[in-house]
């Protein structure tokens, strides 16, 4: 069972390592979107500090969404997804492994890049630390929820935009608590409650999302 999970994750990591261009696009997207905001709003550090946490988080949501089609679509196109579903292994583990691999490939880099964006928005050091922590807890939720959307829209026309429409409303709590944690840290009220709630959402999503994604996979491949 567990070896199946690790095999799925290792396979995706290897594929990503061999297609580095693909992988980097999403990270550059994250940096570029966040950098557009100061250009549109103005370089005043007070304003930037105010909008910084929200902008970084929204950019992370969008970057995560942008990479979701790669979670399953390529395996679907070359038929390997169908073969993996035909194995006697439980599809729930396949869905879980795919989401975890997506998080490792696309979520962790966001976390590592985020301090640079924090500096761009004149965030203090403690706030940047909280930002990284909130992204650490929040990005796996994005990957897990995203796997449901990716499985539902498999092989549909215009699935990219459709995926955004389906998944973005579900990302709202993550955005609120993620950006809220950084805001609270800067206001001096402590980020702990936000981070705890984010952790609670992570546990709930971890319990529910892989099952629904597995059911959606079965619906989409028949």
């Amino acid at each position: 069972m567990l070896s199946f999970l690790f095999t799925v994750i290792r396979r995706d990591l290897m594929l990503a390592a061999r297609r580095r261009g693909d992988w980097l696009t999403s990270q550059f997207f994250f940096v570029m979107v966040a950098s557009m905001f100061p250009l549109g709003i103005g370089p005043d550090p007070v304003t930037l500090k105010l909008i910084g946490p929200g902008v970084v988080w929204v950019s992370a949501l969008l970057a995560s969404l942008l990479s979701l089609p790669r979670l399953l679509a390529e395996d679907y196109r070359d038929g390997s997804l169908e073969q993996m579903l035909l194995t006697p292994q439980p599809p729930v583990l396949l869905a879980l492994g795919k989401s975890l691999a997506h998080w490792l490939i696309y979520g962790i880099p966001l976390l590592i890049i985020s301090p640079i964006l924090g500096i761009q928005f004149a965030l203090p050091a403690e706030a940047i630390a909280v930002l990284m922590l909130s992204l650490l807890i929040g990005t796996p939720i994005l990957s897990l929820l995203g796997s449901v959307g990716a499985a539902l829209t498999l092989g549909l026309r215009g699935s990219g935009v459709l995926l955004t429409l389906l998944i973005l409303p579900l990302y709202v709590p993550v955005l609120i608590f993620g950006a809220g944690a950084v805001d609270a840290a800067m206001a001096g009220t402590g980020a702990e409650s936000h981070l705890s709630l984010l952790g609670a959402i992570l546990v709930l999503t971890l319990l529910v999302a892989p099952w629904i994604a597995a059911a959606a996979l079965k619906v989409s491949i028949e």
Binding site: L145, V148, L162, L166, L170, G180, A184, V208
Partner: protein, 244 residues
């Protein structure tokens, strides 16, 4: 007398039954709307704080109730469909979605109309308004998914799964938005109504809510009939119906 649910779960028999039910629900909706509007415009007193503008709640509140309730009913039918593989349940879910989205939109629209004279702003990022907006997004997402999937069976089940995910998420969204709102908007307007409401106002609102219910049932049944005809177009009974 026990009603045989399996008998009515068949699209062919349900088509006949719903055809008989629609006029009842439709006409009682019309009559109750007339009564409700009469109560709300002529019998309910003018509010001493809000003046005449408060009367929009007679449409706003029932619409907001319906918008949330229809979503739950959709999730219920979706769950039934997934569990028992009944075709009709999925069709009910599909038939309800446009009405739910319509009520959500009406609730937002009338809320804006009420907010302008009361708060001086068309839109305030109040917790209830924001969650209602996100509910509208959820409806739109589900309808977009149905529209994108050509195969009806896949569409049915995919839509039901998404509705269920949304149903789990709705309370989480509501509480997170509420919390976000209290943190960000310390000293802003409060939506909490006056503690006591004149009885006649409450009656007017309830009558309008029941009218909205009946309207929803009538419209959903009408839409379900269309869906049944579309799906069953290759069966003998539909052919016989067309030739009649």
């Amino acid at each position: 007398m026990a009603i045989n649910l399996y008998y009515y779960a068949s699209p062919a028999t349900f088509y006949q039954l719903s055809g008989k039910l629609i006029p009842w629900f439709g006409w009682s909706a019309v009559i109750l709307t007339a009564i409700g509007l009469y109560i709300s415009f002529f019998m309910a007193p003018t509010d001493f704080q809000q003046g005449e503008a408060y009367r929009i709640i007679f449409i706003h509140v029932p619409a907001a109730w319906m918008s949330m309730f229809i979503y739950l009913v959709m999730a219920f039918w979706g769950a039934i469909g997934l569990a028992f593989k009944t075709r009709l349940s999925f069709m009910m879910s599909r038939a309800l979605a446009p009405t739910g989205a319509l009520f959500t939109f009406i609730a937002l629209w009338t809320g804006a109309l009420w907010g302008k004279p009361m708060w001086g702003a068309w839109w305030v990022w109040d917790a209830r308004l924001t969650s209602e907006l996100i509910l509208l997004f959820l409806y739109i997402g589900i309808m977009a998914l149905w529209a994108a999937i050509d195969d009806p069976q896949r569409g049915d089940r995919a839509g039901a799964l998404l509705t269920l995910v949304g149903a789990i998420n709705v309370p989480i969204i509501y509480f997170s938005v509420k919390w976000w709102n209290t943190l960000h908007q310390g000293a802003s307007v409060s939506l909490t109504k006056a503690p006591s409401m004149a009885k006649i106002m409450l009656i007017g609102m309830l009558v309008m809510a029941i009218a909205a219910w009946l309207y929803t049932i009538a419209v959903a049944l009408y839409r379900v009939r269309t869906l049944i005809l579309e799906r069953e177009r290759n069966t003998d009974w539909v052919k016989a119906l067309v030739e009649k």
